[in-house]
Symmetry: C2
Subunit: 211 residues, 2 copies
């Protein structure tokens, strides 16, 4: 069933998950699609449409059971299981990612960082060890690695990504300034371009000034 | 004119800009929408549709002039002018952002970092000074600040964002784990949720395994 669901819908699901998590933290057990709509600043019909992609979870007139919907969306997103992350590139960004305690709440656990800088060898970030890049292959063969975050320069990203995929890593979370296009269909890639988000912001600044 | 353009289109524009920049670097002067389409992995009709929002830039049968299109999209995105960024929160993520030399290529120049950690006082990142948070108000009053990047904990983000907006900062680039909703209409906000992108990845891992 999942196959037909557009990535645009999938992009919105983590946001539902976040908001439902906040509702749970606030002790709210049930919410109407109108109330959820007002909080999330999307239309109630959009919410119903999005959730109907997965069969819908509301009962007419009763709204949504927050905990149930949270759990179901968690299953859809695959955050009900543990994902092991390694981070290749232990500079500021790599260390920042390793420090995001929040990721663990969603089952994403960082198990190792890698770098070429020998000054970093054996150091730890939040008790996560920094290895040298030449130890990467052995580590991936001996440990479960679900996601490799690439936070090293663009020039090396493609080669390392290909190597990781050959070793069987199923997912690449790419922060290098290049859209990684992997020929291998057994890998999923998520490219994060921080400068894209900055440009969207600058577009909206200019537009806002004109209004 | 810009007012009617959807944010979905705007979200795609930085990617066009990046690809055209790469074509320029490779010395390519002209490209057909079909070739651009193949490179970017979007349909040629999508490209034409997106660009037609801004009046269209191609000549039937001649394709696009790369440099001209790059410059025009740059103007649309507002990256043809300088934007001054301050970063509030000089932890790993704040320092990682300050270290992104690439942003400067697009006119985004970081001028200061702020933190509450007195150990960081007077330190610099790539020659950008770290100030204490109590110096923020004076700095914003005395210097041009176009964008404030928030890389501090969620609990403080809302109060600092509101304060910055009162001081006249027109844009917030928010990395704190909360969707900032500003009542003030004179500010634009871009929320970056790294965990959302991680969840999208995990959805696609699960889906990929099922196929």
């Amino acid at each position: 069933m999942n196959k037909e669901i557009s990535q645009a819908v999938i992009r919105r699901m983590p946001r539902y998950y976040r908001y439902l998590g906040e509702l749970m933290d606030a002790g709210i057990e049930r919410i109407s699609s109108n109330d959820l709509s007002a909080r999330m600043n999307v239309t109630a019909s959009q919410i119903r449409q999005d959730l109907n992609n997965f069969g819908g979870f509301g009962q007419q007139g009763y709204g949504y059971n927050v905990k149930y919907l949270y759990d179901e969306i968690g299953k859809i997103l695959g955050v009900n299981r543990k994902h092991h992350i390694i981070i290749v590139g232990a500079g500021n960004l790599g260390q920042a990612l390793a420090n995001y305690v929040k990721f663990e709440k969603f089952g994403f656990v960082t198990t190792a960082l890698f770098d070429v800088d020998t000054k970093l060898k054996g150091q730890t970030v939040r008790n996560i060890k920094i290895y040298m890049l030449d130890e990467l292959e052995r580590f991936v063969k001996e440990n479960t690695v679900d996601i490799a975050a690439l936070t090293m320069p663009k020039s090396k990203a493609e080669a390392i990504a290909n190597h990781l995929v050959e070793l069987g890593v199923p997912a690449i979370w790419n922060f290098a300034h290049v859209d990684l296009k992997m020929e291998n269909k057994n890998v999923v890639v998520e490219n994060v371009h921080l400068s894209d988000s900055l440009m969207q912001l600058s577009y909206n600044i200019v537009k806002n000034r004109q209004e």
